[in-house]
């Protein structure tokens, strides 16, 4: 099979085409206003947090799991981080790094709890993470009385506002590093290979001596850690916790992962696809604003793309399966 054939079979490549078409259409409609560096800088800033979460979600969905709790874990972690930083006081990096550590620890703790309940207690991931979604958000509200904490150290908010690394604003840069690292781990390491194997055939993975439970706990723990990192980025971006602002984060991230070609049934997917899947809603939103269409249409468009993408992917895969039995017959 040639490289071109192989690429054309990947959902992420098709959906990249869709993204290119959207960009071209908006460019024709709005010209320079849409194609400007400023616009794309804004778009990348808007998806930075989701990209970090999307890396973890891609791993989870490839194992044929799901994590609905990431938004709440992000909120909880940012509340814990903000509390820690407020208690220490000061605006410097030493305070901020304590907050970052607290956010990561909190994320890992929630993720590990999810993984433990899914892998060891064998409760369906949908139920487990629906539960922790509610518990984490509830506890965050208990800790704060439901009122956002606005005292975020300046060093953290300045990170978002002023800092650029090799010409890229800080938040998208952190997201980019996370995405690249995630892709390397998923596609090049044993951890990634086991993630695919477990999603593809969990019994086979177990029979081949893979410690499935430990690996799943690791995957959910990783997702939690990335939600913790997302909490830091969100604090940096908004300068406040966002207790009420993350209720749709999980669904937006899941939609992006699925649009990007990661199968909800497990066993296949890519980080690259997830990134493309994140850009589509973000570009639609930005484009609609620029050409003066009400941004409510973004939801309509994204939902339609989601369902259409999965439909196209499924029918293509069904054709491949039929092809396997007719054209790929054995030479005996």
């Amino acid at each position: 099979m040639s490289l071109v054939q192989r690429l054309s079979r990947l959902q992420s490549v098709w959906i990249l085409g869709v993204l290119v078409v959207i960009v071209v259409l908006f460019s024709i409609a709005a010209g320079q206003r849409f194609l400007s560096t400023g616009n794309f800088s804004l778009i990348s800033q808007n998806i930075a947090v989701w990209a970090v979460l999307g890396v973890g979600m891609t791993f989870v969905i490839i194992t044929s799991g799901i994590d609905l709790s990431i938004g709440s874990v992000l909120v909880f972690s940012s509340v814990v981080a903000a509390k820690v930083m407020a208690a220490v006081g000061g605006d410097g990096w030493s305070t901020a790094s304590l907050g970052i550590g607290a956010a990561l620890l909190s994320g890992i703790a929630w993720g590990t709890l999810n993984g433990f309940l899914v892998a060891r207690a064998r409760i369906p991931a949908l139920i487990v993470t629906l539960g922790t979604l509610s518990v984490a958000l509830g506890l965050a509200q208990v800790l704060t009385g439901g009122i956002d904490i606005r005292s975020v150290p300046e060093s953290l908010t300045d990170f978002n506002t002023y800092i650029k690394i090799v010409g890229i604003p800080a938040l998208p840069f952190v997201a980019l590093v996370t995405v690249v690292a995630g892709a390397i781990v998923l596609h090049r390491t044993r951890f990634g290979r086991y993630t695919y194997a477990i999603g593809s055939n969990q019994i086979a993975a177990r029979r081949m001596g893979i410690n499935v439970e430990r690996h799943l706990i690791g995957v959910y723990g990783l997702t939690g850690a990335l939600a913790g990192l997302g909490a830091v980025l969100a604090l940096s971006q908004f300068g406040t916790t966002t207790i009420a602002g993350q209720s749709l984060t999980n669904l937006n991230v899941i939609a992006a992962v699925v649009i990007g070609g990661t199968s909800i049934f497990g066993g296949e997917g890519s980080i690259f696809g997830t990134v493309v899947g994140l850009f589509i809603p973000a570009v639609l939103q930005a484009g609609f604003v620029i050409i003066g269409v009400e941004s409510f249409w973004q939801g309509v468009a994204v939902g339609s793309v989601l369902v259409a993408a999965v439909f196209v992917d499924q029918s293509r895969r069904a054709r491949a399966q039929r092809g396997a039995s007719s054209t790929r017959k054995e030479r005996t």
């Binding site: 090049r188 390491t189 044993r190 290979r193 194997a197 029979r207 893979i210 066993g267 005996t332």
Partner: protein, 248 residues
């Protein structure tokens, strides 16, 4: 001669079903043993218990005459025991090479290897050699296993097992999904593996196949071993009689 692997009084119940009832089993180094029995006689359960895929309620296992107990497949792998399951235990989204090395990936040298990076090239080369030796129909090692035919999948599972087995291979119905030519391949492979000094346990419903390759035949019925025959001077009638309980 001490058996390579021996089971004594192996029992396992699933609810009210006594799948294994004081089952005995033995296989000697370098021989082909066929394990036959009617559906539900306990053959697959016995194989699972002998390979670390199922814990027995009672009974003991001896490997090279020493007592062993397997709580995971990895422990059986470590002793050089491999299995080809009826369901093949392949990941359909992975390619043949990835399946062959699943759980046993070759790490890259040095620090990268310790970080979990894999030596894809070394794995592909070893896999190519394995499939060449089998001489089968698996030619595209980069396609997904899920898109291959039943016969090709079977070959992948068999190549994987005989690549890793140093001492003993279990084959659970290895020819059930195969055509005439491929069945021939598998039977030849079994003989070749035995000639390398690796013992083979063959589970099969095809009595002519069993009598062709087996040095000994062990018959199971209702969770226990009811008869052992020498392969050379046994007839299909004798085997069927023992399986159904018609002849004692």
């Amino acid at each position: 001669m001490t058996p390579l692997l021996e089971a004594r009084g192996l029992s396992r119940a699933f609810g009210h079903v006594q799948a294994l009832d004081e089952a005995e089993f033995d296989v000697r180094a370098g021989e082909v043993v066929a394990l036959v029995g009617d559906n539900g006689a306990g053959k697959s359960t016995l194989v699972k218990a002998l390979t670390g895929n199922l814990e027995a309620d009672r009974g003991e296992l001896l490997f090279d005459g020493r007592p062993v107990s397997f709580t995971s497949p990895a422990q059986a792998f470590a002793l050089g025991i491999e299995v080809v399951f009826q369901d093949l235990a392949l990941a359909p989204h992975l390619n043949p090479v990835q399946n062959m090395f699943l759980g046993r990936e070759i790490p890259r040298r040095g620090l990268l290897g310790r970080l979990g990076f894999m030596d894809e090239r070394a794995m592909r080369e070893r896999a190519e050699a394995g499939f060449r030796d089998l001489g089968g129909t698996v030619t595209d090692l980069t396609a997904r296993v899920g898109e291959m035919s039943g016969g090709q999948r079977q070959q992948i599972a068999i190549v994987r097992a005989i690549t890793w087995a140093d001492r003993l291979v279990f084959l659970d119905e290895p020819t059930a999904a195969l055509g005439v030519v491929q069945t021939r391949h598998v039977l030849d492979t079994i003989k070749r593996v035995r000639d390398k000094g690796i013992a083979v346990v063959l589970i099969s419903h095809s009595m002519p196949e069993v009598l062709e390759v087996a040095d000994r035949v062990q018959v199971m019925r209702l969770g226990r071993r009811v008869a052992v025959f020498e392969g050379a001077d046994t007839t299909v009638e004798q085997l069927v009689g023992a399986m159904t309980g018609g002849i004692r």
